[in-house]
């Protein structure tokens, strides 16, 4: 294949996007396409996995292999795919409800597993697809269809939580800055391990508070802070705490072996490539001897 371009991805998209014009998920998806193309990844070697939600529909609009699974379970599905075929680039693209609500446990357990996936969360602080209910990242007191008197719960703090849970890669992007976002996605793909990228991605239809303007004005861009060291976990936690999560850029990265590398027995070659599974007769005979 010649040099890969974004067009190579777009060519196989069969479904027109149903996202609202202006939705923050568009730039994020574009960033993912650019990053994949920029890294020369063939679309046949990429799998995008979603749960259920507006954002989770991304696989259909992306142009690679995809799996639009069920609400909250995108990460386990992606884990299975990656273990089946280590050569694939597997990206989970989902929402805050999907990932921090119903799917929170999978998220944090996958953080500690440190499997080589990219996890992009379109964090719009709302349930978009179901037309505007409170999400786990909705600010305390926010009025939504399921919190007409304001939410009583404090929001989850996904960045801090992922850092605390021991994530090896934590970044936050903003749909209003595709350039930075593309770079972050590239880094996430290149990271060997679980790369978690929260994207402040406005829902222009159901969230009137967390808008492009709000985030543009209130987010500290770490790229503007040359002295910031993304390899210091304590420092990372501090900066997130200090700005109450309103930072963007690469927050933390650490090199360590990924799950596939640590999982006892897992073949170095992609398992999926083995089509002929016939089992050596003599091996079977030998195994049976263990049970004599």
């Amino acid at each position: 294949m010649a040099r890969v371009t974004v067009m190579d991805y777009k060519q196989s998209i069969v479904e027109p996007s149903t996202w609202c014009p202006g939705c923050g998920d568009f730039p994020a998806l574009a960033a993912l396409q650019r990053a994949c193309a920029g890294l020369g990844l063939s679309p046949d070697q990429v799998v995008v996995v979603g749960g259920i939600g507006c954002s989770s529909k991304a696989p259909s609009y992306f142009g690679a292999y995809g799996f639009h699974s069920v609400h909250g379970r995108a990460i386990p599905v992606a884990t299975g795919i990656k273990l089946a075929n280590r050569d694939l680039t597997v990206v989970v693209f989902g929402g805050d409800g999907d990932g921090y609500g119903i799917g929170l446990s999978h998220f944090l357990h996958t953080v500690r597993r440190n499997i080589d996936l990219v996890y992009m969360v379109m964090d719009n602080h709302i349930y978009g697809l179901t037309t505007g209910q409170a999400s786990p990242t909705s600010r305390k007191g926010m009025k939504t269809k399921t919190s007409p008197y304001g939410t009583a719960e404090y929001p989850v703090r996904p960045l801090e939580t992922a850092l605390a849970a021991g994530a090896s890669f934590v970044a936050q992007g903003f749909s209003g800055d595709v350039k930075q976002l593309t770079r972050l996605v590239e880094m996430a793909i290149k990271h060997r391990g679980f790369a978690y990228l929260n994207v402040l991605s406005p829902c222009v239809t159901f969230n009137r508070e967390d808008t492009y303007d709000f985030w543009r004005e209130n987010c500290v861009n770490l790229d503007d802070e040359p002295e910031y060291d993304p390899h210091d976990r304590t420092g990372a936690i501090r900066v997130v705490l200090q700005h109450e999560g309103l930072v963007r850029g690469l927050i933390y990265q650490e090199e360590r072996p990924s799950f596939e590398a640590e999982l006892p027995g897992l073949a170095k070659e992609p398992l999926a490539r083995q089509f002929d599974l016939s089992f050596p007769e003599q091996d079977w005979a030998r195994i049976l001897k263990d049970f004599a």
Binding site: I81, A84, A272
Partner: protein, 584 residues
Amino acid sequence: MSVVTRVIDFTWKVGGQQGEGIDSTGEIFAQAMHRRGFYVYAYRHFMSRIKGGHTHYKIRVRSGPVWHRGDQDDLLVAFDQESIDYNLPQLRDGTAIVHDAAFVARVPEGRELELMPVPMTRLAEEQGRSIMKNMVAVGVSAAMLGLELADFETTIRDRFGDKGEQVVEANRKAFMAGYDYYKTHFTPRQVLADVVTDRPESAYLSGNDAIALGALVAGCRLLFAYPITPATEILYTAFKYFPRYGGAIVQGEDEMAAAFMAIGAGFAGVRAMTSTSGPGLSLMMESLGLAGIAEVPLVIVDVQRAGPSTGLPTKTEQGDLNTIVYGSHGESPRIVLAPSTVADCFHVMGRAFNLAEHYQCPVIVVSDLALGLSRQSVPVADLATGTWTWDRGLRVTDDELKDVTPGTFARYRLTESGISPRTVPGQPNGRFTSLSNEHSEISVEEESPENRVRQMHKRMKKLHGLDLSDWALEHHGPERADLLLVGYGSSYGPIAEVWRKLADEGARVGRLHLKALWPLPEAGLARYLEASRHVLVVESNYSGQVANLIKLRLGFKDRIRSCLKFDGNPFTANEIYRMAKEVV
């Protein structure tokens, strides 16, 4: 050594408090008997706690094949009074109770039982560690039954070898302490002495072992699971062998994770499975629907235990079939297979993966605690590969994709059979997005009524023609029968025994073991039902789930009766026999 061949059918039981090593006593004895050339069936009775509470290990030793623990006990080794009290009903009159002299044993008046006190704990303490009372008990049993240290040598070595020669030696000594004590104080009964058996070369393994090995041989390379009694042992065996073949075992954070990981791997083209028991199964209901609509091969093993909810976690039951066949919202295809014997457990896995990949849908293998945990002697010949041949289903080759324009591959193409050829990620030009939503042939979310009806028919019709009568019905006896005994899973042994007994009594009786439960093997089943005056469906649950499936699909309401048990224990032959006599 004189050569004696006689028919042996002997049951030995050891009982005591949980956490005191009862299991290992049983395991050593059973393994040695297997190696001695007997057919062995080992059954473990235990409770959902770590220490305390009555536990026992029962071993049936036969000169011929054996598929269940047997109704009676021919010898009891008891470490406490509770073990005597608990097991009294099963103890054959005229036999003996060997008990630890540390307590004064009582048996009710009128029971003809010889009490043989042996200071097992004291003898063990004399050897340095009271836990070795278990080995003392083995020695006592050996002496009583006419066995020698030599019969236990390799078993002891295999078991304690890693811990050093000293430990091996100490155990040998403990064995001999029991052996000598018995010989000095009592008369050996010699039941198992000097027997030469003609058992063919056999393996000694459990249903769970066989499932793990069957999966391995079937090409399963990823096993995702969350620990749960009585399915966890599948993991243990898999851990031993999968890594040698590039395979891996992943302990998920819960059963949902495990099932969805397996779906991911299946989607990506690898044979993957998850194993669980009831509570885990209930958490997998969503995954059944996803695998159904996305048409992904998925194999789930359910080793049933007694429900509902936590229920009796260490007791057997066959109560999950309803949720397996009918569970998950909406309607989606699935196949349910049911091994009856340890050998079946091995063979079923190849069939399960073949069917899952062929029909691109979930296959659930239902076992049960009694089948899964009981280790048994199985002739190696019965474990030979070749009962099925490879079928990886309809896969589009890279070659066929050469000229395909990306984005045009119709993953859910409407075909005569309902099965559509699939690609897996990595294949050039074969890309598509699998969806849990209703979708068109090229896998675009699509809500039109016409498309919906077409895709629904496509998915469901895949199994319309599927009738596994060919291999999924094991029938014995005359086809025209006054009574047909029907069952699945671990009731195989007791049913076989009852059948033999009734036949010996002159009854025209058949037995039919179902190895596929959904779709029901209707063609064959109907023929057998047709030809039987009475049908007794034997199953371990309250409502007669299998009987109900048969009635719903095939009718025969008036001729079908149920033999049900749901007290947590496996069927005894006698329970079925009594009910059979009521019917005919």
